[in-house]
């Protein structure tokens, strides 16, 4: 059991991170905390991709510039899979963009409502509805 | 409430000759005339044919009499019905139940 866990340590961490992130999104009423939870959730995905690209005993897929020609490379050398790394670079960019838009929205919400707590916002909106007479 | 004293005032010109028609006496006369007609009709029927005019071969007798009794019974039953199932006029609207889509917007 322990061995299995140790062998798949990365995946255990990923799952824990994922759950923590989702739980934060579900449980907190604070909008900033909710975004933090979202980021943790996304980070777990980054880790997932990175973990799966790891090849045991593989070197980082970084070539010496001078050895770029194929014939000079060691044909038996083992490298980690570079593609997921590249993908995750894109995903990180996306994550950053999302986070920044989210934070900008939180700033605007704070300006408009004077609060970033879920409950207060809902109450403010309810009162708006009640004024209009639902 | 009784009719206004000058009951011809405001009447339609065509109706003036008939102004007495709604008096109780006129009603009674009409009733008596109808009663005579009904009784006479049945009498005539009995005299003219033996056992009543058989309108259809299979249906015998003055079968019209039964519905009359039934109609009378129905009218009298109406009292029971009024007592049983009638409710104040605002029954539906007074109960909160009827507030449906019409009022929520």
């Amino acid at each position: 059991m322990v061995e299995v866990l140790a062998e798949r340590f990365n995946y255990a961490v990923i799952i824990i991170l994922m759950m923590v992130g989702l739980y934060a999104v579900i449980a907190t009423g604070n909008l900033v905390k909710r975004l933090v939870g979202l980021s943790i959730f996304q980070t777990s995905v980054f880790l997932l991709y990175i973990s799966m690209s790891k090849v045991f005993g593989g070197a980082p897929p970084i070539f010496d510039y001078k050895e770029m020609a194929y014939d000079k490379l060691d044909p038996n050398a083992i490298y980690s899979n570079p593609l997921p790394h590249v993908l995750i670079l894109t995903a990180i960019v996306v994550g950053v963009a999302t986070l920044s838009v989210g934070l900008a929205l939180v700033v605007r919400i704070r300006e408009a409502y004077g609060s970033i707590e879920d409950d207060t916002l809902a109450e403010a909106d309810y009162s708006l509805e009640l004024e209009k007479g639902v | 409430m009784t009719a206004p004293r000058d009951s011809k005032a405001g009447m339609h010109p065509l109706a003036r000759p008939l102004s007495g028609l709604s008096s109780p006496r006129a009603g009674l006369i009409a009733l008596i005339v109808i009663a005579v007609l009904v009784v006479g009709g049945f009498a005539l029927e009995t005299v003219l044919s033996d056992g009543g005019l058989s309108k259809y071969p299979e249906v015998y007798g003055a079968y019209e009499l039964l519905p009359l009794a039934a109609a009378a019974v129905a009218i009298l039953l109406g009292w029971g019905l009024v007592w049983l199932i009638s409710r104040p006029g605002d029954f539906y609207s007074r109960a909160a139940g009827d507030v449906t889509e019409g009022q929520d917007d």
Partner: protein, 508 residues
Amino acid sequence: MTVGQFLPAALAAHAPVLLVAIPLILSAPAAALKSGRTAWGLAMAGSVAAFLFAIELFLATRGDAPGISYALGNWEPPVGIEFRVDGLNAALLLLLTASAVLALLFALPSVEDEIDKDKRSLFYSAFLVVFAGLAGVATTGDAFNLFVFLEISSIPTYALIAMGAGQDRRALTSSFNYLVMGTIGATFFVIGVGFLYMATGTLNMADLAARLSELHGNRVVEIGFAFILVGLGLKAALFPLHLWLPGAYAYAPSFVTTFLAATATKVAFYGIIRFSFDVFSVENGFVLNSFTYVITPLAIAGMIIASAQALFQSDVRRLLAYSSVAQVGYMMLGLGIGTQAGVAAGVLHLINHAMMKGALFMALGAFAISYGVRRIENFKGLGQALPVTSAAFTLGALSLIGVPFTVGFVSKFYLIQAALQKGWAFAVVAILISSVLAVFYCYRVLVNLWVAPRPDGASRSVQRVPYMILGPLLVLALMNLVFGVYAEPIVNMAETAAAAAFNAGVAP
């Protein structure tokens, strides 16, 4: 590569990528411009160009023509990123670009009414990015690339929705909600793609399809499918993952609502079809079972519950938004049936729903411009004041109900037929119940529009409805009628799309 039908061959050869790239590139100068009108011109130019390419692609993939494969940067698939257009997404591209052009016509007066002067060029720039992103999702043949385009379209969408804050501050909270949920959905999708990559080592969809067909009973694949289905289902507003939609549609600027209602959920829906029937296959037990036991009940629940919720809304845009959720239910039911006829009915309803909701939301935008009204009770007597707009709204509503001789009827008819073929009488019952509810929520609006007298104190028309709105509105409204009677073209389109989803399976 097929020969172009009417564009010059040099352009036609690059149509798939230009369709996406032109709007994306134009968004940068649009953001830098000061004048909103010039930015609108750029957006229009981009959309029209995309529309032309879409027509080109559509014509090129008709009939038995094989799908068009375009290798980005000449890196051959499956290593490089591939753009792939076949009968399925050519129809979607046509719908998407046509909606964009029509919606943009409507945008000029509507945006001037609702958006601050100094934000207009940014607004159009964001729109171009959304548009490019949606087009990208529809064109790409690479699973991870699809995620990237999904996010490219989503992030500016959040900004566009938040721009409704000038009218109602709830636009901000709605946008935030959408952001959180949309991100969760997209992340789910990317997790699913990760699992597929683990199992197969490829990201190209055609390649994935080929390799997945050899993997049987692989749990990783199943988990990947589950994540992808839920992630895209969230984006497509599948009940109960629709909670972002009513707020987003109700408080966004009119133009954004119109455009999103006609396109955004549709693109995600396309994603579901593409993955479920093309990349995976319904022959896989877990795909079929997921559709039968998860998607179908949810679709039916959505059709009925969301319609019931629509009944009790007092804001017409919220009402229509809930109705959209119900309509997504219809489309999902088509997929849930899981046969080619079912998918065709789903796609047909997708196309038709874009027409009817486009007309409805556009008419609402016209009402909002002229009278500033959004709530049902303020619609009293507007039928007399704005007869043409009201008539267009009525047509859209009739189509939504599914009155015969409108497109709504055509797709419901095909849906019922597909359900009956499968022997699902309960689905027919659900469709009928949902239609009854639709009659009621539409009738509530229509009665106020036409029958109720205008309140005495109400203002006279503040502003005439501009021709820029009336034009596209009438086009959309009449399309509901024309294709309702002459249904053959759209039915063909949908059937070709379904055939492509089912048979293209392993592309060359």
